[in-house]
Amino acid sequence: MTLSLTTRHTKLLFIWLGCAATTVLGLTGTARAELGGSEFSVQLDQARASGELRTTSYATYDCHEITTLDGALIREFADRSGQIFAVTWHAHGPIDLHQLLGAQYEKFAAASLEAHRDLHHTSIHLPDLVVDASVIMRTFAGRAYLPNALPVGVAVQELR
C-alpha cells in the first residue's frame, strides 16, 4: 500500500461521515448482505478474509462498512428491525450487483433496459427501488436504496 493510498484512506475515515468507524468487528470477506435482506447476513461470509467490517450506530439505523484489501468499500445500512434498506459501493473493479442487490436485482436489471444511460452511468428510479451506478474506468461506484423502507427521518443524502 502506497503512502498516497494510506493518506486517502485516512481521509475517507474523516470525511465520509455517513459511516465513520466506531467498532471493528474483525476480519470478514466479501460483503454478502443484500438490499432488502437481513443485516445478520453481513457477517455470514467469513471465508475469504480480505477486509474489515466496521459498524456505526445512528439514531435509527446501523451502518456496516466493509473494506477489502483490493480497495473495495461497501456500506450497508440496516434499520432497527435489521433490514438492509440501502447499500453503497466504491471499488476499483466491478461489483457483483446480483449479490449486493439480492432479490432486488431482477427488478433493477429489467428496469435498466429502459433507464437513462450514458457511457458511464445507469440510473433507475422506481417508486420502490432507486439505483444510481457509475463506472469511470478504474472506479466502480454506486448506491441503491428502497425509498419505502427508509427509517423515519433519514435523508437520502446521509446514505453515503
Partner: protein, 523 residues
Amino acid sequence: MRPLKWLLSFGIFSAVTIGSSLALWGCGGGGGGGAAPTYSVSGTITGLTSSGLTLQLNGGNDLVVPANAMSFAFASMLGAGQNYAVTVSAQPSSPAQFCSVSNGSGTIGSASVTTVAITCATPQNVANITIDSFNGNSAGNTAYITIKVCAPGTNNCATIDHVSVDTGSFGLRLLSSAINTYNATLLSALPNVLTTGSLLAECGQFGSGYTWGSVRSVDFSVPNTNETVSGLPVQIVGDMEPAPSTCITQSVTGQMLGPNGYTSAANFGANGIIGVGPFPQDCEACSQTAMPTSNGTSYLVYTTCTSTTSSTCTASTATLAQQVINPVSDFTVDNTGVIISLPAESGVGTATASGTLTFGIVAGNSANNALGNAKVYLADPLSANVTTVYKSTTDTASFIDSGSNGLYFIDNSITACSAPAAGFYCPGGNTSPFNAGGSSTLTESATFEDYQGNNGTMVNFTIENLNLVTGWASSGLAGTGTANQFDWGMPFFFGRTVYTALTSQPFAAANVIGGNTAPFYAF
C-alpha cells in the same frame, strides 16, 4: 511704441510656440512622460492564413487582423519613454492557428517601433470536436472527433468520424461494424495482438454496459495533425459475439447487450471511444494477474482465445505493451495530456456545437497547449479523483469527465424527472410548462478542490429542466450521482478550456508540467 511692442511680443510668443511644436515633431527628444504621443507601433506578420487574430497594445487598442495579412500597425500613438507591449488577445479561429509575438515589448525611444514580429502557424496538435445528434445516436452532450486507422505499414485505412472523446476511460475502442462501414476490407487486415500464440481479447467495463472484442494492432493517426502511433493496440468491439458469460454477468446491468448493445452505434452512441483520461493503461494489474479482484471477487478483463469464438477464451494476463492503451501516452510528443475547449452553451442547448481537442500540455505561455494562467488541481495519484464541496457535502471521489453527458451529483432537494427521464433533474417539475415554483432553471455552485481538499475555486452551474433541453449540446444537463462523487461532465466544459494531464507510463518518471505532477486537472 505700444503697438510695436505689442506686435513684437505677439511675434515672439508665436515663434516660441511654433518652435516648440517643431521641436517635438522633429526629434521628440528627452521630454519624458510629458511628451505628446507621436510614435507608432507596428511590425510584420508571417504565416497568418486565417481570420480572427486580434492584437492588443498595452492591454487595449484592439486590432483585428485579417487573414493573410503580412504587417500590422496600431492606430494609437505612444510618446517617447512610454512602455509598449503587444500581445495576442484572440488567436485565429477559422481555421485554428496559433500566433506568438517576438520583440513585442520595450520602451519607446526616439522613433516609431517597427520591429514587432508576429509568427503564426497552423498547430499540428489540434483535432476539431463536433457535438451533434449523430443521426439520433448520441446520448446528448457527446464530443466527437474523427480518427484514422490503417493496417500496420499499409495504406489500407479507414477514416472514422463520430468517435467519442472520453476522459473517463483509457484506450481506443472501435465498433467492428463501423470499421466495416468505412472500409469493408480493413478489419480482416488488422492483426490480432497475440499472447502465447493465441488471440488477445478484452472485456471492458463501462457505466451502461461492456465492450467485448479482440485486441488488434493499428497504425493510428488524427487527421490534420502530426499525431500518429504505429502499432497501437486497440479494442475492436463486437467482432467476437457473443461475449463470455463472465463478461456479461459482471457488467453493471449484467445483461447480454447483443444487437441492442455495444455492438451498434445506436447504443454505443458513437462509432468508437477514444479514452484519453489521466492514465495510460486500463488495467495495470492485469500485467501481473489474470483476474484481479474487486470486493474479494475475481473479474475478467483480458482473455486469451484459441479461436475467434468466445468459448475458447480463458482469462489471461496481458503485458502493458499488449494492453489497450491511451493513444496520447504513445505519442512521440504532445503526450502529457489533452485540452478540451468548448464554447459557452445555454441550458436549453443548441443542435450542434464545435470545439477543439488539443494534444499535449506544456508549461508556460508560448504554445497553443501551454498551461498559461489555468489553475491546476492535483488529482489523487491512484484514482485521479479530486474533491468537490457541494452544499456542505464533501465529495472526495469527484472528477472531470468528458464522457459523462451531464453533471452527476446527489441533491434530493431538486425535483427529479419522472420516467422515461428518471435519473435526471427537472427543476420546475414534470408538468408543462415546467416552471413550478417560478423557474425551470436552477443555478447552483460548488467548490472545486484538489484531492487533498485545498486550492478551492467556486464553480457556478445551471440545471435545466430536462423537458426543456432541446439541443444536443446543453450546459444544463444534470442528474443523480452516487455517494461521494461529483461528476463534472460535459456541461462543465462549455465555455471553458479544461486540461487533463495524464500520468506517465507505469514505472517511468512522472509527468511534471510547470512543477505540477500529473495526474491533474486545470481550467
